[in-house]
Every structure is written in C-alpha cells, then in structure tokens.
Symmetry: C2
Subunit: 210 residues, 2 copies
C-alpha cells in the first residue's frame, strides 16, 4: 500500500512541504485533532500515531466512521466527512501534517515532477480508502451476525491467504465494526467455535474451514 511520500527523496519532500505550505501539529491521546479548522479546505496526513473519525449524532450516540493510522489521509475535500457534527480524536500521541487544499490544486505547482508523484500517491491512498469502505458496506449488508462474521473473515483471509486472522482491535471493537450487539456477537462466535468453524485465542482467530 502506497504512503503519501513514497517514491520521493527527502529533498523533494522538503520542497513539497514548502510548496504546499504545510503545518505539523502534535496531539496527545484523546485530544481532538484540528477542532478549530474543521470546515476549512485542508487535507490531513497522519505522520505518526493513529486516530478515529467519529460522527456525533443528535442523541449523543457516537459512530466511528473511520480508523486513521499512520500515512492515512483525511479532510473535507478528499475523503468526505460530513458537514455535520464529527470529531477526529487521537488514539495515542499523534503527529498530523496539514496541507492547504487550494495549494494542492493550484496549477502553478503542477509542473514539478515530485508534485506529480505526490498526487499519484494520493490517488492510490484514495483508492485504498474506497476499498475499505466497500468492504465495510459488503459486511454491513449481510443480514445475520454469522454472515457478517464470515464475510469479515473472508475479506481478511483474502488479504493474506492465511488461516490465522489477527484482529487489529478488540472483539468489542469488532462488534462495533460489524454494527451488531456485542453479546449477540459473542454468542455467535461461541456457536462457530462449537461447530468447529473457528478457534479464538485472544485477538487470533483461526479459520478451521480454510
């Protein structure tokens, strides 16, 4: 998977920084990222750490729209977060690089080869983000918890072709990701274990049918 500054030398990256007028901000765990310039035309890149984009509903409910990790991009102009209420919260100590969208899209910059490389990387990352969202939708479209779990396993299996899946988060987080009740998901995992479909050891899930 491409990263924003792949195929660029340090010198080129520095030139890019100047060209795009970047700013770098640092956040601690649970701090909100860019609370003041939310509506501005910016693109953010996670240089270090990780964060979550949460949608805050009228009733106070929080929905995780996206998990951002190192080298992920975000911003109202490139990977829409709604005009509605949302927050981006750092999961840990996190460094964020901020680009002015208007400078990115300024034709004066386009003549630089390194700028082109950067744009190319952006398209690649955008593509990955679309793939992630499509994966999530394919899971959420399943009507039953068992089907959602199996679809999740299928998608993860296809990435590595290994029977062992290592969850990048807790089982509770998995239930949020699948948008099902946590205890109902545990019940279904228990069924799958008893039927010898899977084995679960902490965050390692083994697909016995593969």
């Amino acid at each position: 998977m491409k990263k924003p500054f792949d195929d660029l030398s340090t010198a080129q990256i520095n030139k890019l920084y100047i060209l795009l007028g970047v700013h770098i901000y640092t956040y601690n765990k649970n701090q909100e990222i860019l609370p003041t310039i939310k509506s501005d035309n910016i693109i953010g890149i996670i240089l270090e750490g990780s964060a979550q984009i949460k949608n805050i509903e009228f009733n106070g409910n929080e929905i995780i729209l996206e998990n951002l990790s190192k080298d992920d991009i975000f911003g109202t102009n490139i990977s829409a977060t709604d005009t509605e209420n949302y927050q981006i919260i750092a999961n840990e100590n996190t460094r964020v690089l901020v680009i002015d969208y208007n400078k990115l899209i300024n034709s004066k910059n386009l003549k630089h080869v390194y700028f082109n490389t950067f744009l190319n990387n952006l398209f690649d990352i955008i593509n990955t983000k679309f793939r992630e969202k499509n994966e999530r939708i394919k899971i959420l479209e399943k009507k039953q918890i068992r089907e959602k779990l199996l679809e999740y396993f299928e998608i993860e299996y296809n990435k590595t072709r290994l029977r062992n899946i290592y969850l990048p988060f807790t089982l509770k987080d998995l239930s949020d990701y699948l948008a099902v009740n946590r205890s109902a998901m545990f019940r279904e995992l228990k069924n799958l274990k008893e039927e010898k479909f899977i084995e679960v050891k902490g965050k390692k899930i083994t697909l016995l049918y593969k």
Copy 2:
C-alpha cells in the same frame, strides 16, 4: 455538485480528450460495461444514462455496491471496485467515456490549465462519492429497521430541508439500500404511517415530524 467537465470550454474538453486518449463506448440496457478491460488501469465516466456496480458473491448473491448516474466516475484506480468478481451493468442506454489512468497521472500533462481544472473536478466528484459511502455506512450501522429508515429520512431531509422526500428508486430498492428484508421494511413503514410519523404516496414520502 461538480461534473467531470465543469468549467471547461468545448475546445478545452476536446484537447483533454486528445491528451488523455479517451474512448467512448455505448451500451444497451442490461449490457455489461467494459467486461474485457475490467482489470486495466482505467477511469470511466458516465456521459449519458446510468448503471449499477454489482458484486457477485461465491453463492451467486448479487450486491449493489454503487449506483452510477450521469457524470459519475468509476474505475479500479479511483473508486475501488474490488479485485473480486463484479459487474457494471447498464440500466438503460448508456454512453461511457474511458480514460487511461496512466495518462491522467502523466506529469507531461500537468502543465495545461484545463487539465488542472479537470483534476479539480475529479477531486470534487471523489469527495461526493466518499460522502455517499459514509451516508450509507451511517444507515447500515443502525441496528433496527425503524432507525435505518429514520436515518435515511434525516440524510435526505438535510439535503433539501423539505418535508417531502422523492425516492430515486422503488421501495424494493430502498429495502436493498437499507439492507433489510423487504416485507419487514413495509411492516415498519406501516407502523410509521399509523403513528403519523410519515405519509407515503408512491415514491413521495412526507415527514410529518418536520
């Protein structure tokens, strides 16, 4: 909402066509779009008509990943459709413009102002597509049919601020979009009608609580 060739003169569009080496294909209703060059690096633009991106599962199930209408873009490099089995099927007579992705990302082209405009439009369309996917995810994350319907109404209401929502598809399609059983959705619509929350007349839904 931006279209691919907004802010460009006819002359500029023609120059773009040459620069990007475009091809235009025509399809009839129910015909598959670009079946042969699926895996190639291309970006498609719907010039006329509409189509659906369907995911075909191992068990034969079909899932609609995306509805494409006039001026929508698609393609493996810009709005990921999985490497897995999928089809793009024309809903009606449809004209598609196909761009070679490698030419789009060729730095030689970047010096042209009209090329920059086009790139700008692409970013705008990408943004819209992300917004649409986020909307869908927000709906699918709801656990109950009633909540899904209300979330759908909420999103549509916020677009126009009008109590009347006009469905762009049938109620059956709505149940697919919400990923719920059709008859269960009808039952819930009936409840909402009886509780005077909504009125339904064909494809017009009136939100009585707004």
